[in-house]
Amino acid sequence: MALIECRGVTLGYGGDVAVRGVDMTVSKGDYLFIIGENGSGKSTLVKGLLGLISPLSGTIRYGDGLTRRGIGYLPQKTEVQRDFPASVREVVTSGCVSSGFHPFYTRADRERAHAAMMRLHIHDIEKKSYRELSGGQQQRVLLARALCATRTLLLLDEPATGLDPEAASELYATVGSLNRDDGVTVIMVSHDMDALSSEAGHVLYIGRDKTFFGTRQEYISSPYFRGKAGE
């Protein structure tokens, strides 16, 4: 059974359809690259996968031990976080909160946060304030927080936004290594065609009225690659 299976998923707000008829499967260890232009409904699909909105039609099923709540999510940056006074450790540990009643973090939570910070090489800045970090470091912190929330699947929504090219490629390399070396399943959402790294095993292309799902090779030889379909 796959981790996530979408069959004919159509999503939108109110009566407006944002994404139509998505068919895809994500299996353990996959690296899925979701690509589409701005406004094509990628973020709506992300909300659907996280269960923040329900599909207008079709089904999203979770399997292989994954639940909707077990997804490690790296959201787009918000205005609130720009000047937020929080230490790196506080932000990373907050990935351990769950819906149950636990007033304080447990020792296991703290150990998990520590392991995530070690893995992403930010343990030496754990006492620094989040707002004083560079964009690349901030994304590492949020990635560590997402790792606290999951051991199975990372969902990254436009993680390279606002990063300089060097920091962006460093981030992609880190995510690739988490997928390759740690066996974490990755779903990467981006509008940046150039970010389609060799790590990606599968691609989901979201066009204005058509979606395409296949392996990276199939996508590159398909008419959707680099927007050829529209020309």
Partner: protein, 290 residues
């Protein structure tokens, strides 16, 4: 000065002063701790709107003949307003901050009209707007209400600290982790509503939101961690109240304005220091580069 000490040795007067000090400290502490999440979540204007709504609610309670119970009657009205404001600003109906402006001025207007139809422009109305000129009006019931409020705020933050941090820092991530984000936002707004009503009598509805905003802003400039900001915001707020209260007694000024003035001075000083520090760091960096 000598007269003040003579007054303080009077058991009746010292009892009144102690009562006022406890009410003020409890309200300052609650407002400043809640203020941290309000300011960080860009909800300062909701706090301000609630403060204005408190005036209207108090007038409505007076109209209903609530008499001595008007504080207790006002609380559910302001809480309902909090709910409405949260819903309007989140749903984007009326365009966020415009909704806050509409409701806060609407409730103020209702308050003024109700007062002028019933009791007229009395001392009662003045003290709801600008805070009490005399602390004699603070009753034992105000004392218990404020202690209950401070206990509720403390319990909320101690029991749900991890979740409050998560929701404040990133509500979408928290939602995806299965936290009931709405429940936390509503709990904060409801507690602010109670703080506003309880504190209005002493500080005044036009100034009570300063207690929500200033200590939090001061603490954000001093601290790098969320836990630190909460602690410093609470401490600065209670200290600011004590100093402001003393100033108001010595110079016979209204309590509310004195406390807010002290908070404002602390904030300005901290801003100046952090600006100087940044400039100094920049200069050091430039010198190092050369």
């Amino acid at each position: 000065m000598k007269m003040i000490f003579e007054l303080l040795s009077d058991p009746v007067i010292s009892r009144i002063i102690v009562r006022a000090l406890i009410v003020g400290a409890a309200v300052s502490l609650s407002a400043s701790v809640l203020g941290v999440t309000m300011v960080l979540r860009r909800m300062s204007m909701i706090g301000d709107g609630l403060a204005h709504a408190g005036f209207g609610a108090l007038a409505a309670a007076t109209l209903c003949g609530a008499g001595d119970l008007k504080t207790e009657v006002s609380i559910p009205i302001v809480m309902a307003t909090a709910l409405l404001l949260m819903w309007l600003s989140e749903s984007g109906a009326l365009g966020g901050d415009a909704a806050v402006a509409v409701i806060s001025t609407g409730m103020m207007t209702a308050g003024v009209l109700i007062f002028s139809f019933t009791t007229g422009y009395t001392a009662d109305m003045c003290s709801s707007l600008f805070g009490s000129a005399s602390i004699l009006t603070i009753t034992d019931r105000d004392l218990w209400l404020s202690l209950l409020l401070a206990a509720a705020v403390a319990a909320f933050f101690l029991l749900f600290y991890a979740k409050i941090f998560s929701v404040t820092f990133d509500d979408v991530f928290s939602f995806a982790s299965g936290i009931n984000v709405w429940a936390y936002k509503l709990a904060v707004a409801a507690l602010v509503a109670v703080t506003v009503v309880v504190g209005m009598k002493m500080i005044g509805s036009l100034m009570i939101s300063a207690l929500v905003v200033f200590p939090a802003l001061t603490a954000m400039r001093l601290c790098r961690s969320f836990a630190g900001v909460l602690a410093v915001s609470g401490t600065v707020s209670v200290l600011g109240f004590l100093v402001g209260f003393a100033v108001s007694c010595v110079l016979s000024l209204p309590v509310g304005a004195s406390v807010v003035a002290v908070d404002l001075v602390i904030f300005a000083v901290v801003c100046a220091i952090s600006a100087l520090r940044t400039a100094h760091k920049k200069r050091l960096a430039r010198n190092a580069a050369v």
